[in-house]
Structures are given as C-alpha cells and as structure tokens.
Amino acid sequence: QQPVQSPQAVILREGEDAVINCSSSKALYSVHWYRQKHGEAPIFLMILLKGGEQKGHDKISASFNEKKQQSSLYLTASQLSYSGTYFCGTESLHEKTSYDKVIFGPGTSLSVIP
C-alpha cells in the first residue's frame, strides 16, 4: 500500500526551510528518503529504522515515529541544489517471500528559487 506524502509541491526561496511528511497505514520497520532530479534516477538520501530515530547530514535530516508510522524530512537553509522531487519509500515484510520491498510515495516536488 502506497504511503501518503505531503505537501504535493512546495516552492522555497534560498535559505528557507521545508518539511516533507510521509505516512503509512501499514506497520513499518524502515523509511527511506530519495531525491530525484528531472531526467535522472533517484538518489538515496537516508534510511531510518524502526526504534524511532532521527538522522541527518549537512542540512537535511529526518525523523521516524514508528508508532504513528510517520516520517518527516527536514531541509534547512535550502540551496538551489535541493530542487527536485522527494520520495519516501516504506519498507515492510513482503507477504509472499518475507523479504523486504520498498514502496514509494507519490513524491513531493520542491523548487528552490534565488
């Protein structure tokens, strides 16, 4: 079942902050975050495992609330290079095979303007 992302789109000026949310109706044990620029493949940003944690590098961080099955991606002091579509991917046990598969959310388009 596809996770839900919000907002669908956001426009920021350089230096502004943004939060992208991801939620699922299924029990999760990990959440992935990816950024995809137009015409390119998605690039992995970070993964959060169940247990409730927060991660970050540079000015991009994320949190995972396992009980609420929600994750948020925080982008602070945005740069032009942050523009792209952000996808969360949720991971749960595959019903047939017991191994993992990642189901991607619909994406959030983020545009950073000067």
Binding site: E40, A41, K101, V102
Partner: protein
C-alpha cells in the same frame, strides 16, 4: 554503494514487439528490483528478482508480460513483451545496499516509447 549499468538508455519500439532491458551490477547482490515510472509519477515496483528462483511479481504485473531473468548475482534482464503505447514509461532496476544503513541504488533508467 553498488554501481549499476543499465541499457538501453532509451528506445522507440513498434507496438506488438518486445524489448529486453539489461542491468549489470559491479558487485554480487542477492535481490534486484525492477520499477516502472510514468512521467511525473512515482516508482511502481514490477517485480523482485532473486537469483536461483522465479521472480516475485507485484499485483497488476504478470510474468507473461514482463518476464525476468536472473542468471547470476550481478545481472538481470526485464523483457517488456507484446508492447502497447500504455507500456511507454521509464523502467529502472535497483539493488539494495549492504548493511542496515544503505538504501537502494538505481540504474540510470530506460526510457521506452511505444508507437
């Protein structure tokens, strides 16, 4: 992280024909995943290819339409069979990283147009 070589990068095909997409990984991986992405849309999982066993297909995707081969731990192919314009899309292979702290690495994608 793994490096994936995917080809062809794009193709224009006649309806009714088939196209085979290849993915070569620079390291051995247990599972490879095939996704489809319509322009401006999310990534939809087609199937999971595990070496030595039949691929596992997601709802809405069948083996007759999307046969997958996985002859070894570094290579996989996806065939789009009996194509129609509705099959026009970007197809991506991906692999999971080693360890708990690694996500998926994607191939560069195959942009398929069926005319």
């Amino acid at each position: 992280s793994a490096v994936i070589s995917q080809k062809p990068s794009r193709d224009i095909c006649q309806r009714g024909t088939s196209l085979t997409i290849q993915c070569q990984v620079d390291s051995q991986v247990t599972m490879m995943f095939w996704y489809r992405q319509q322009p401006g849309q999310s990534l939809t999982l087609i199937a999971t290819a595990n070496q030595g066993s039949e691929a596992t297909y997601e709802s809405g995707f069948v083996i007759d339409k999307f046969p997958i081969s996985r002859p070894n731990l570094t290579f996989s192919t996806l065939t789009v069979s009996n194509m129609s314009p509705e099959d026009s899309s970007i197809y991506l292979c991906s692999v999971s990283g080693a360890g708990l702290d690694y996500g998926y690495t994607f191939g560069s994608g195959t942009r398929l147009t069926v005319v």
